[in-house]
Symmetry: C2
Subunit: 325 residues, 2 copies
C-alpha cells in the first residue's frame, strides 16, 4: 500500500483538506467552514473531516500524517498565535489568542500533525510540485487579501529563531504610510495586496477628475477584481492603480533580493491575476533598486498550481520531509 498525506489549508473563511499522494495527486478533498467561534467545535469538525477522508481513501493507501498551512502558525511549537482572521483562535477575552492546534488535532485523530504558516506551505508546494521545482533559493510572495512570504535558502525554509521568519508583508515600504492591521505603518501589505489595491483605488478616486468608470462603484465596497475589470476595459485610472502597486512591490522586491539573493521570486495569490497590468512596472522598479551584479538576473515566476491546490499540496509535503522543504 502506498503512503498518503493529508494537507490542510486553513483560511479565515474555510479550511480545505485533501488526501495527497507522494507524487502530488490530490485523491479527494473536503471543505469545512472556518467561521466557528469555539475552538473545540472547530477541532471536532476538522477531526471528523480528516477521519472521513482517511476512510474514503483506505483502499488507495495509508495516511502517514497531516500537514497544515495556516495564518500565524508556528512550526516550532505547533501553535497558531494571534491570528486576527481566525474566529476560533480567540481567547476568552474575544481577542486573538494562542491555540495548540497541532497537538489537539493529533490527539483527536491519532495522526502525526505538522503545521507551518500558509505562505511557507505555499512555498513548499511550489518547490515540491510547482514552478520552483529544483530551485534552492527563492522567495515566495503570496499576494492575497494580505501579503505573506516564505523564504527558501539553501533548499530550506527560513524559520528564524522562533519560527516566525518571513513576514515580508510587514516590511516598511512607506515611512509613516498606511496604517496596517499589525499595528505598524507603511507595511508592504497595505499597498501590494487585494486590500491594498482597493485602498489605493479609494485614494486615487478622491483626486480623480471623474472620468474613471470606478466612480460608478461604492468606494467602500470596491475590490481588486473591480479594478482589474476596469483596467481590462481600458480605464486609465484603474491602470494607474496597478502601475503604482507594481512600483511599490518591485522596489520592495529589490530590497528582498539584497537579503537572500534568490534565483527567483515566485508570486502567488489573487492579485497575480491582474499581473498583465503591473508586471512590467514591478520588474522595472525591482531592477532599478538592484546593484549591477543583480540587475536583470532575478527570475520572476508565477505559480502554476491551482490556488486552492498549492496550499494543500505544500502542507501535505511536510509529511514527507518534515524539516527540509
Amino acid at each position: 500500500m502506498q503512503k498518503l498525506a493529508i494537507g490542510i489549508d486553513i483560511g479565515g473563511q474555510s479550511s480545505k483538506c485533501g488526501v495527497v499522494t507522494h507524487e502530488g495527486t490530490i485523491l479527494c478533498q473536503s471543505v469545512v467552514t472556518s467561521l466557528i467561534d469555539s475552538f473545540d467545535e472547530y477541532l471536532t469538525l476538522l477531526a471528523n473531516t480528516v477521519k472521513d477522508l482517511v476512510r474514503q481513501t483506505a483502499d488507495r493507501g495509508t495516511v502517514a500524517g497531516i500537514g497544515i498551512g495556516a495564518p500565524n502558525a508556528n512550526r516550532l511549537d505547533g501553535t497558531i498565535r494571534y491570528a486576527p482572521n481566525l474566529k476560533w483562535a480567540r481567547g476568552a477575552d474575544g481577542k486573538p489568542g494562542v491555540v495548540y492546534l497541532a497537538d489537539r488535532l493529533q490527539e483527536a485523530t491519532g495522526l502525526h500533525v505538522r503545521i507551518t504558516n500558509d505562505a511557507n506551505a505555499a512555498a513548499r508546494g511550489e518547490r515540491t510540485y510547482g514552478v520552483a521545482k529544483g530551485i534552492d533559493d527563492f522567495i515566495m510572495l503570496t499576494l492575497g487579501t494580505g501579503v505573506g512570504s516564505g523564504i527558501i535558502s539553501h533548499g530550506r525554509l527560513v524559520y528564524g529563531h522562533d519560527g516566525f521568519a518571513g513576514e515580508l508583508g510587514h516590511v516598511c515600504v512607506e515611512q509613516d504610510g498606511r496604517q496596517c492591521n499589525c499595528g505598524l505603518k507603511g507595511c508592504l501589505e497595505t499597498y501590494a495586496s487585494a486590500m491594498g489595491v482597493a485602498r489605493t483605488a479609494r485614494e486615487f478616486l478622491k483626486k480623480d477628475s471623474g472620468k474613471s468608470i470606478l466612480h460608478n462603484l461604492d468606494p467602500e465596497k470596491i475590490s481588486s477584481k473591480d479594478i482589474y475589470d476596469a483596467a481590462v476595459q481600458g480605464d486609465s485610472l484603474a491602470k494607474e492603480i496597478f502601475t503604482y502597486t507594481g512600483r511599490i512591490l518591485g522596489r520592495a522586491m529589490g530590497d528582498f533580493v539584497k537579503f537572500s539573493s534568490p534565483q527567483a521570486i515566485v508570486l502567488f495569490g489573487g492579485l497575480t491575476k491582474s499581473r498583465e497590468f503591473f508586471h512590467d512596472d514591478m520588474v522595472k522598479a525591482m531592477n532599478d533598486n538592484l546593484m549591477q551584479i543583480w540587475k536583470g538576473q532575478i527570475q520572476i515566476l508565477y505559480s502554476s498550481l491551482k490556488e486552492s491546490d498549492a496550499a494543500i499540496l505544500g502542507a501535505s509535503s511536510m509529511v514527507w520531509s518534515p524539516d527540509e522543504v
Copy 2:
C-alpha cells in the same frame, strides 16, 4: 602535530594574515599593504607572507589551508568581483574587475584556499569564537567605512543562489535619499557607516545655528571620530547626529528581523565605538518597527572580538568547516 589555519583579512589599505589554532588563538600575524596596482605583484607578496607564516609556525603545527575574508568576495567561484576599494582588483581599463584570488593563491602556495566576503567572515568569527557562540540565527552588521552584513540562518551563512546574499548595507532606507557608491540612492550605508555619519554632520552643520564645536573643523575632512569626540564633550549637534543615525539604523534593523527573525543582531566595526550615543535610539526605533511578537525580543550584541582579530579568526574558521559556519 596540531592542525593550523591561516586567516587573511583583506581591506582596501592593508591585508592582515594570521596563523590560528583550532581553539582560536592567533599564533602570529603579518600585515602587507593592499595598495598595489598589479594583481600579480600583490599575489606574490601575499603568497610569500603566507609561506613565511607557515615556516614560522612549523614547530607548532601543520597549516591545513587558508581562509580569506575580502570585500566583494564570492565563495562559490573564489573570485573578487568589482570591488571599488581594492587597487589590485582592477581590470586593464582601470575599472574594478574580476580576479580569481582563491585559485591563484592556491597555485602560489600549494594550500587549499577558501574565500568569503568580509562581513560573512566576521559573522563566522563571532559564531565560532565571539558573542554569537551557539546562536543559530543572527544577523551580523559591520558598521565600518561602509555597512556590510552576514546572515546566519539555521546555523549556516546565507549565500543565496550566486554567493552574494547579505548586502543589507544597500537596502533602501530613504527613498531618493543619498547617492551611494553602488549606484543606488538612500542605501543604509550612506547613513549608518563612518562615512554616512560624516555626511550627516555636513548636512546638519549647514542648518546649525553655529554653536557646535564641529564648526571648528573642515567639513570635508570631518570624521566619525571627530563627531564622537564632540559628543563626549557634550556637543548637542554631535549628539543629534548619532540620534539620527541610530533611528535610521534601528528602523532598518526592524525590517531585517521580519526577514529572518534572528535571535540577535550583532554589531561590529568602528562606528560601534560611539554606541553610547546611538544605542538607545537604535533599539527604540527597531522595536517601534516590529510587530508585537518581536517587540523587546531581539537581542542586540556588540562584538567582543578585537576588530583586527575577528576577521582573521572568521576567515580562518572556513578551513575547519568549509560549508557550515
